[in-house]
């Protein structure tokens, strides 16, 4: 309980649980909204307060792709790997971004600036291949344009 994670924001989540029996998934979604990932200490605290065993929390947190147990970067780069993007060359786009950032799919740069992810489909298939950086979508990418977008050599984004 001492790692410096602030547990105060957790109070309304626990209150909702007591009053409305919110599901574990909803609680984890709320926690992730607050902390941007699921810190271990917070989950332990959640387990103690709700009497839900840590094993069950861990089972749910690792089953769903949207939960993160590790801190993520300030900028999250999502390379769309939907079918439409795939047939328009998104694997080459992914390779280019990986090369530029020096990390693989699912990893975060050591300075927590970038996290690289792939997504199954963002539904902007007319813009294929597409990548999303935080909230912004960039369509009709080529490998070199995508690399330029995340390039740290010059300021961009």
């Amino acid at each position: 309980m001492s790692s410096g994670v602030d547990l105060v924001p957790l109070a309304p989540v626990l209150r909702n649980y007591r009053e409305q029996a919110t599901s574990l998934i909803s609680m984890l979604q709320e926690i992730q909204k607050i902390y941007s990932y699921l810190p271990e200490d917070v989950l332990k605290h959640l387990s103690q307060e709700t009497m839900i065993p840590m094993s069950r929390i861990y089972a749910v947190a690792t089953f769903y792709a949207q939960f993160y147990l590790k801190q993520r970067g300030r900028k999250v780069v999502r390379v769309c790997r939907g079918t439409a993007c795939h047939v328009r060359g998104s694997s080459l786009v992914l390779n280019a971004v990986e090369r530029e950032l020096g990390i693989k799919d699912g990893e975060t740069t050591p300075d927590f600036e970038y996290t690289l992810e792939t997504v199954a489909c963002i539904g902007a298939c007319a813009l294929a291949p597409a990548i999303v950086i935080n909230e912004n979508t960039y369509g009709k990418m080529t490998p070199s344009e995508a690399a330029k977008l995340v390039s740290r050599k010059e300021k961009k984004e």
């Binding site: 079918t83 795939h86 047939v87």
Partner: protein, 630 residues
Amino acid sequence: MSTQMLNSSPGGTQTVIVCQGTGCVSSGSVKIFEELVKGIAQEGLAAKIKAKISGCHGCCEQGPIVIVEPEGIFYCKVKLEDVPEIVASQLKNNHPVERLLYKNPLNGEIIPHYRDIPFYAKQQRLVLRNCGHIDPEKIDDYIAVGGYQGLKQVLAKMSPEQVIEEVRRSGLRGRGGAGFPTGQKWEGCRKADGDIKYVICNADEGDPGAFMDRSVLEGDPHSVIEGMVISAYAIGSTEGYVYVRAEYPLAVKRLRLAIKEAEARGFLGKNILGKGFSFQIHVNEGAGAFVCGESTALMRSIEGKPGKPRQTPPRSVEKGLWGKPTSLNNVKTFACVPVIITRGAGWFAGIGTPKSTGTAVFALTGNIMNSGLVEVPMGATLREIIFAVGGGVLGGKPFKAVQIGGPSGGCLPESALDLPVDFDSLDEAGAMMGSGGMVVMDRDTCMVDTARFFLEFTQAESCGKCVPCRIGTKRMFELLTKITEGRGVAEDVEILSELAEGISTTALCGLGQSAPNPILSTIRYFRDEYDEHIKNHRCRAGVCKSMITYFIEPAKCQACGSCRRQCPTDAIEGAKNLIHIIHQEKCVKCGNCVTACPPRFSAIKVISGEPVPAVLPASERTLVRTKGEK
């Protein structure tokens, strides 16, 4: 429906509609709308011209889209800087801005009205009847086009049994993919024992390359709510859920807003329309698991548990959510219900084919001219959809295959193009209606790589509960990887087929049972590509990296340096007036040089399965320019 819309603008006023589906939003339509509103106010046109947003209009390829009604003038690929001209010319002086109108790519002819554009002209929009026309954030817009009439009719003069009978007579089958008769499902749930019953709307559209459900929720959420309330009345349910992918924030936002508005107007909540019937809807956001699109897994997920499917029977209509009878339908199924009520089962059954009534909605994507959302009567052929509506293959390249039904579906070859699109024909051909993604693939798509792509997805999304899926999809993925990496042996295709058959008959749920379809269909129709990969180390599409080499054709290279500058590993050597060469040992096959080389030169050749020519020595690479070049 669109004609009804045309007449609905009162007293000579005009409405300018800015599409805010995901595609158009991604290309900047939010700012365009703000700018238009500002421009209209500045010019003092606000009394005469109304500006509003809409959900997806369907022709995503041409986005951002701006439409002026009642004329139906269609502006495409609008940029922020075009807005002042639209305001000054079109809105103020009724003079269309010609350069922003749609041009027929075949002959360059300008088509000012969207109804005349082939993409729209060949469609029949029933599920998408309001998408792109009404403002999804305003319930009055929905009511103005006849919304909630079906519900009123049901509550005023129909018994639950009559509603079920009407839906049954319409022949409506589940739009989620399997095509189970909706009326039969509702009846099963109505007759099941239980004090509490649930209605669930499955909006967990996880298939890569599909965005129909999202577009309906974003563009016309009330039609889904109305369908759910009617269904709840028929079944005898008072509580329902919409399970929607969390990756669809806009759909979630508009749905929540629509629920609030519907409650405020008495279409939802306690004592609906004063008729004593109550029904409430909860929105449940998924957390990123493809398997949750499977109905029993989805219900586990609503219960807050890991979304793992269970054995059936008992069927969900008897023992579903929290062990209670539950009826689950897809977004599009619900969206069909209100029009079945208002226009009658006979009208609906008259569309499509006798066994697959109504329409089919597809997200048409991939190597296609007009990516977008299309809706055609069941029974239309693939050729009509891809060529007449979709405008054919992008860049005029030869057609190779069309993938239908996502990871559960299959790839069909050119010989299948005249197949009618309905539940049963697609099934027979080895594809599946699935969730309705339709991805067109051109000559440069490798079919073995495509199968591997889908298996990479399914093995990662397998929940791990049953052995055939957990281990089987992984083994199939490994075999496909082996083949695409040039390590395949002759028996591999036989082993793959055997595994595929075994898994499809023994896996627990639909995900596992259908996971082998991409393999089975590609082996069935594109067996020669598998053999070429294994025997000749040749990938004819030039996709599989281990068997391709990029080579600069000396006769075509103009030493412009474009490829050299884009190469991330400095594998390209060359200089001004010196024909470039690639050092193969440094090349990582990123493909940058291919896109960098100006199309008028097209000097980079992808070689596979044949010897690579030796590079010329530097002394022979001096460029000799012919007249007129510099």
